[in-house]
Every structure is written in C-alpha cells, then in structure tokens.
C-alpha cells in the first residue's frame, strides 16, 4: 500500500491591514481590519473553514516609524501599520469563536519577563483547548526601545543571549506541574500531590526565577514554539527549541539550503528533523489567468508612491538616509543593520542578482516585505507550493495577503481546494490541538519519572 503524499502545513499570517504598503487603498480592501475585532473573527473562521493549521500574528511594541515621526517626519502619516489589537489578547478572544485552528502570536523576549510570558501563553493554551503557539522573537525595530527606557536599541548579540535564556525559563516553568497533579480530594482536603509540583530555581545571566508557575500543565503538553530568526544564532536556537520555523525565502535553491541546514542541526539536540516544521511566507496574487493576476499586481504597485517605498526601505538601510541617492541609480552599499540582518541581506542579494535600481528595490521591498510574491492562477500557485514541498524546500507556507479580506478569501476558496484535490492538504482536522494538526509529539514533562 503506497504512503499518502507528504502533507502541506498552512499558516494564515494576518498582517493587517495588508502586507503591501498600499494594499489597503484597493477599492475592495477593508482598512479597519487593523482594529475591528469582528473582521478578525471573520478571517479566523474563514481560515478554519479552509482547514489551515494556524493563524499567526506578528508584533511590534511601538507604532512603526514612531521614532522618525517624533523627529517630525509627517509624511509617515501614510504608513498603515500604526495601531493594532495586541495579538495575545486577540488570539485568546479568537479562540472562543473557533474550535480547531491553531492560534500563534508573537511576544518579544526583549521587553517582557519570562514568568509573565510563561503564564500568559500557558493560560491561553488552556482557554483554547491546546491550540496556542508562541512566536519567540527579539525586538528588531528601532522604535520599540523608546517605550521601555532604552534610547538606543539593545545590540543584536545581547538580544539573542537574553532570548535563549528567556526560552529556557519559559520551557522550564511550563513543566512546573505534572499532568495529574491535581487531586481535588474533598474528604482529605488534599488539593494536589506535592510530589508533582516542581520548582525551577533558575539562576542565569539575565534571569533569576524560582517558580513554580501558577498554571497547570497544558492540554497539549506545552504550547507550540515558533521562531523566525535566520542568522547563525537564530538557526541554532530554532534547531534546538522550535516546533515551527517561519522564514523569508524567495528562491528555491536558497530555501532548500535553509531547510537542509536547520533540519540537519536538530540531531545535535536529540531531535528528529520531522519535529521542526519549516514554513516560508508567500504572498499570493491570484487571477483567473496569468495576465489577470499580473494586472492585479500592477494595480497595487500603481498606488504606491516612490517616496513612501523609500521610507519603508530606510528601516533596513542601517541608518543610511536613502533620499540622498538617485532613485534610478544602483542600490548603495548599506551599512550593517542592528535590526533585521537577514532581511537586509536578502534585498542586497536580490538587487545585485537582478541589477535593480534603488527605486526598484524600494518598490519590491514594499510589495513583499521580504517574502516571495506569487502572481498567477490558483493552479500555478499550487504548482509552486507543491514543488517546494516535494523538493524539501518547505514543510508548508505562511500565507500573507496584500490587503484583506479579498485575497485571503480567494486563496481559501481557490488555492486550498486545488491543494486538497492533489491530496497534499487535509480536508478535515486530524485532532483538536495544534500539535495534532502539525503532527508533533506531546513533549514529556522533564520531571516526570
């Protein structure tokens, strides 16, 4: 009997009001999707109908661009990722109007305390019946430091060290209680089995945490952990600790290299390569024909002013003021950036490879935000996704839309059925937890004998 073909994992990355800097200006776009809870309910329920493994939210603990705005840059009033519903509160609320879909939110290790994050995500996991994931990041945007007492941003290496220790504390706290610790014995007055409660007693460089956590063990063992760093340190941390790795990959060869590299590192940590699911982002622009799809893309680009695109690129330019360079000249040499190292490198490589002008790089960056843009028919998009799956370039994809809800509805209504028809995507959920959907084992409690 032949094995069923490998199955794709799908995440719905709700980057509201849209990944494309000007997407929200589309006639069909609903820009209020940034702050309107009912719009998120609709999107989450659409994703669940489409059997997505999870929905996902990025996060920034600041108004993006606020540092520049504070210096008087009024033209940034055209940026649109300004306000949002805080993602952990949002996904907790969304867990009450969904039943099977996973819910993953970002929370930074840079401006939080591990005891608080451990409590919050584990509680969310209980509320949702075991469907929660935590995307562990270090804060990468210059604006955030100013809201937490830092005039300049915390340096890259130090941020990662803190994040690694942060993870250790959180994972340790999630094991505070064994699965069957609570007896609730009314007759004897014994609420819990004292042998099944464990103190962490962590003493490290950044944190000193006694524990135990005042939340019982998760319905799925512990929340799923996702990560997105692509640097050397990032890959090593992911191989050791992540269940899901989000990444930005635009070329098949690079994606295969990344996939093999991260999976290859897992053995060092006693983990199976299957224990990590690698999911690059893709932004679909879907048309009934290839040319209709291209028209849709060009229309979006036509709404994007060059100077706004340049502003967005400035965030990756390592502090260099790009306005002093000719728009139709080459991409100037960029100094190293303290924020998104990998994202910057991708752009530099792309510019070099395709001989792009500064204008073109800026416009491309605003359209894609680092991820691969797929412009075509539903069949062609499914072809591309299937190719990456079978060639070990991805275990699945994070779907990011240029505006909402149209393109996301299109993907769910047109591309998902095509994937299902090919037998590479589920038609119903396997189980009730996020680990069930992702095909991940329930981790054992480190203290259980």
């Amino acid at each position: 009997m032949s094995k069923p073909p490998r199955q794709l994992k799908l995440g719905a990355f709700f980057s509201t009001p849209g990944n494309h800097l000007a997407g929200w200006r589309h006639p069909d776009a609903v820009p209020e999707v940034d702050m309107d809870f009912r719009e998120y309910v609709r999107l989450a329920q659409t994703a669940e109908r489409g059997c997505f493994d999870m929905i996902f939210f990025q996060d920034t603990v600041a108004v993006a661009g606020s540092r520049a705005m504070a210096r008087g840059q009024r033209n940034l009033a055209r940026l649109n990722r300004i306000v949002k519903l805080e993602p952990t509160a949002l996904i907790t609320a969304l867990s009450t109007v969904t039943t099977h879909i996973g819910l993953v939110a970002t929370a930074t290790a840079t401006f939080n305390e591990p005891y608080n994050i451990a409590r919050r995500f584990l509680s969310m996991d209980h509320i949702s019946g075991g469907r929660i994931g935590w995307n562990l990041v270090t804060s990468q945007i210059e604006d955030e430091g100013g809201n937490f007492g830092f005039d300049d941003h915390v340096d890259h290496a130090l941020r990662y060290e803190r994040a690694i220790e942060f993870y250790e504390v959180v994972a340790g706290l999630w094991d505070s209680w064994e699965d069957d610790a609570f007896l609730h014995d009314k007759a004897t007055g014994i609420y819990y089995d004292t042998d099944k409660l464990h103190f962490l007693r962590h003493k490290g460089r950044f944190f000193d945490v006694r524990g135990p956590l005042n939340v019982s063990r998760s319905p799925q063992g512990r929340p799923v952990v996702a990560q997105a760093g692509s640097s050397e340190t990032g890959r090593e941390l992911a191989a050791r600790t992540a269940d899901v790795v989000f990444t930005a990959q635009t070329e098949l060869a690079d994606a295969r290299d990344f996939y093999a590299d991260v999976k290859g590192r897992t053995a060092r940590y006693g983990r199976s390569p299957d224990a990590v699911k690698i999911m690059p982002g893709i932004t679909p622009v879907i048309g009934r024909t290839q040319s209709e799809a291209r028209e849709k893309y060009d229309f979006l680009q036509s709404m994007l002013p060059d100077d706004l695109a340049l502003e967005a690129l400035t965030r990756l330019s390592g502090g260099l003021d790009l306005r002093q360079f000719p728009l139709d000249g080459p991409l100037p040499d960029l100094p190293p950036t303290n924020s998104a190292k990998a994202r910057q490198q991708l752009l530099i490589d792309l510019a070099r490879r395709e001989n792009l002008t500064l204008r073109q790089v800026a416009r491309h960056a605003s359209a894609a935000n680092g991820h691969r843009v797929l412009v075509g028919t539903a069949e062609w998009i499914a072809d591309e996704m299937q190719e990456w799956l079978v060639k070990d370039a991805a275990d699945g994809f994070n779907i990011i839309c240029n505006y909402y809800p149209g393109p996301f509805d299109d993907f769910t209504n047109l591309v998902v059925p095509e994937l299902q028809r090919r037998g590479i995507f589920r038609t119903r959920y396997e189980g009730k937890t996020l680990r069930d959907s992702l095909g991940l084992e329930v981790p054992r409690n480190r203290y259980a004998r």
Binding site: W24, V63, A64, G146, G189, R210
Partner: protein
C-alpha cells in the same frame, strides 16, 4: 430615582473561603477550566451585575516558604488559575454587557505592555474593560522576577503612581477621530491627532505613542484597592472604582467620605468614584438555613492553613509561637497589606478574638464582611449601607463556585430589583455607562 446599587462578582476561584472547595457541591476545576468561567460570567450578566472582577498573583501562594523548607500544605485551594488579563480577553468575546475587570500589578510589569493589553480588550469588548491597579503584596512574587526580597511598600507605591501616569498618558495617544484611512489620498492618520507621551521619570522612560487607538469608552475603567493613606490618595486622583474592606456602616461612611473629599481636592466630582466594599453573602431560603450553610463551611476549615494566611499579615513576628487559643499579640508593621492588618487588629480587640478565631475569620472571607441570611436579610443590609452613604454597592465574594453565585443572582437580585434599588436592565453597553462614571476627556484636546 432611588440610589442604585452596583456590584462586582469577584471570581476568586475555586472560592474565597479557604475550605470552600471542599463543599460537596463545589467545583474545584473552576480555577482552570475555561467553560466554567464562561458560565459564571454569563450568570453574573444574567443577574445584571456591573462587572466581574479577577485578582492576580504572579506566584504560587506560599512558594517562598516552600522553597525555604516549610512543609507543604496541599489543602490550600488557590494554587493555579488562568492568567486573568488573557481570561477577560476571552470573556469579552462571549459576553455583551457585563464589565470585565482584571488585576495587573505595577510592580512586575511594564506600563506600555499593560496600556496595550487593556486598551485592546476595551476594543474587543466594546468598552467594558477595567484595570485593577495594584502593587504586588505577596513576598512569593519577588522570587519569580529576580529579586531576593519583596520591594518595600513606599517604593512600590512610588512606582505604581508613576506607572499609572504613564498608562493614562498612553491611553490618550490618539484622539478619537485620528484615523482617516483615506484611500484616495493615501493618508492613514491625522498627524496632529497623534500625541507622544515623552515621559521621563524616576522609574520609566516612555516615548509613546501607544499602538492602540482610543478606546470605545474613552479609556478603560481604573479600579484600585489600597486603603493606606498613600493608597487612598492615589485612588482619589485616578480611580473610577475603589474596592475596599469595611465591616461596619460607620467605617464605610467614614471611608467613603474621606475618599470623596480627597477626590474633590483633585478636581473630581464626588460621584465620579464608585466605592464597593467586599461582602461574602451566604444565602438561604431562611435565616436559619443560611446560618447552617455558614456553619457547614466553618466546619471544613483547616486551622493550620488558616494560621498561614494570618502569618502573612504579622510581619516579622512568628504567630505560631503563641498559644492558638490565646489573644492576638501586638503586631509589628507589615510590608504586605497594611490596611488589612489594621482591620484584623481592631476586630480582634473589639470582639476579644483568640488567634484561632482571627485565623478562621481570615480563612472565611480574607478579612471582608460575611453576611449570612435570607434574601430579605441580605437585601435589608445592602439597602441600609446604600442609604447611609456607606458605599455605592459591593464586591461580592463567594465561598465556592458556582452555587453561591447562582444563589445570589436567583434569590437576592430579584429582591433588590423589587425594591427599586438595582437595575432590571443595563443602562448601556460600556462599563462606564453602567457604573455611572464619566468618560475622561483626552488631555491633548483643548
């Protein structure tokens, strides 16, 4: 119209009574099982209560002692609970009118994060969120945040005051009509309606703006519970709702008058603050039945557990060294709950209580007033307090869940409604409307 009562339902699962969870009908899983919270909140909403209220501690009670070698006392019910800010976010989506107030400490949080989360929940709920501002009182928490000992009382309050200022300032970051989202011009927001906080203080340096827009009720309701002098002052300046522990009408009147006088000095109206003392109602069909229910609960109390609760209020003094059936000795100042300590000292003196009796008293309702009786008896007392100006209503404590909450909603609420001193329908869709407290003006709008 007659003055109206306001109620909070304090969901201190599995029960405020130290032995409540052992009641035959109690559901101990009300601590961690979300569907119970949905059911209880909807019951409270059915009963038209103003709000639910959730306490919080970022530690397991007693963990510091356990780590230091104290014996385990596994009969304490409140060990684990759902992190309450996440919980109210979830409850926001499954309720429509009831307020959702959660505690979040100023001692172990950053103001930007707190401002975001509560503003977000205010949006999700349509204007029903509230933040109970506290300083952490429990020694155990320090050990989870890198400190050997708990931050002392005065320093905690200094941080809390600045914390509040930052949060309130961040909640004004955006004027109500700042967001244009104008497709034609490509302008997302009106730059002049965005405001940077630029706060630089002893504890915090916060530029802002907040990345959440102005909330449906202007900003979340702020509740507080400190009764010390510095606590009252902070409440008078910044709270919409004050939780307190007062056991007699006279004490209630004295506290209310003092707080409202202070509020006026801060330029606020006397009615801008609602004051809710704690009250544990134990309802029976008759007074006798209610007394029986009370005695049944007291019979379940574990004295050694009650003594531990008392020990938390006795500062450096080891209360276990004194004869348990002897009088309460003089107590040194406590770094924990100053006002609560004062309350029990006075009560012990007035009623000649032994240490055992004081401990049991604490183990019943944590120092709050207990009232057992028929619906009529309870309603009589509530009406008396209301008319005497001793309070605006009560924060209702329950010995276990869910039964006593159901009893209150099914038996006492209709009696109060019949007397015309409690609503039959919610006044509005926001917590401010239902509490009858003003919508704050944005400080940047002239």
């Amino acid at each position: 119209m007659k003055p109206q009562l306001h109620f909070g339902a304090f969901l201190y699962t599995p029960g405020t009574h130290s032995a409540g969870w052992r009641h035959p009908d109690a559901e101990p899983r009300t601590d961690m099982h979300f569907p119970y919270y949905v059911e209880m909140t909807r019951t409270a909403e059915r009963g038209k209560l103003d709000t639910i209220f959730l306490q919080d501690t970022a530690a397991i009670g007693g963990s510091g002692g356990l780590d230091g070698g104290s014996p385990y006392r596994p009969s304490q019910g409140r060990q684990v609970h759902l992190e309450p800010v996440s919980l109210i976010a979830a409850l926001a989506a499954v309720t429509s009118h009831i307020g959702l107030i959660s505690t979040a400490t100023t001692t172990y949080n950053e103001p930007y994060n707190i401002a975001r989360r509560f503003a977000t929940i205010d949006h999700i709920s349509g204007g029903r969120a509230g933040w109970n501002l506290v300083t952490s009182q429990v020694e155990d928490e320090a050990g989870n945040f890198g400190l050997d000992r708990h931050v002392d009382h005065a320093k905690r309050y200094a941080r809390a005051i600045e914390f509040y200022d930052v949060v309130a300032g961040l909640w004004d970051s955006w004027e109500a009509d700042a967001f244009l989202r104008d497709k034609a011009s490509g302008i997302w927001f009106d730059f002049d309606k965005m405001h940077f906080l630029h706060h630089r203080g002893e504890h915090f340096s916060v530029r802002g703006p907040l990345n959440v827009s102005r909330t449906p009720q202007g900003r979340p309701v702020v509740a507080q519970a400190g009764s010390s002098d510095i606590g009252r002052d902070l409440a008078a300046r910044s709270a919409d709702l004050v939780f307190t522990a007062q056991v007699t009408v006279a004490e209630g009147r004295s506290f209310s008058t003092d707080l409202r006088d202070r509020a006026e000095r801060y330029g606020r109206g006397r009615d801008d603050i609602k004051i809710l003392p704690g009250l544990m109602p134990i309802v029976g069909r008759t007074d006798a039945e209610a007394r029986e229910r009370f005695e049944q609960l007291q019979g379940l109390i574990d004295d050694s557990l009650a003594m531990r609760a008392l020990a938390r209020l006795t500062g450096e003094l080891d209360i276990t060294q004194f004869p348990i059936d002897g009088p309460l000795p003089p107590l040194p100042p406590s770094n924990a709950a100053k006002a609560r300590q004062q309350l029990i000292v006075e009560l012990a003196r007035k009623e000649n209580l032994t240490i055992r009796q004081v401990a049991r008293y604490l183990g019943t309702a944590q120092g709050h007033r207990v009232l057992h009786g028929s619906a009529k008896t309870i309603a009589d007392s509530m009406e008396e307090w209301l008319i005497a100006g001793a309070c605006d209503g009560f924060n209702l404590l329950f010995p276990w869940f869910p039964g006593p909450l159901n009893d209150f909603v099914d038996l006492v609420v209709p009696e109060l409604q019949r007397r015309g001193i409690f609503r039959t329908e919610y006044e509005g869709r926001t917590l401010r409307e239902n509490l009858g407290v003003p919508v704050p003006v944005n400080r940047y709008v002239t």
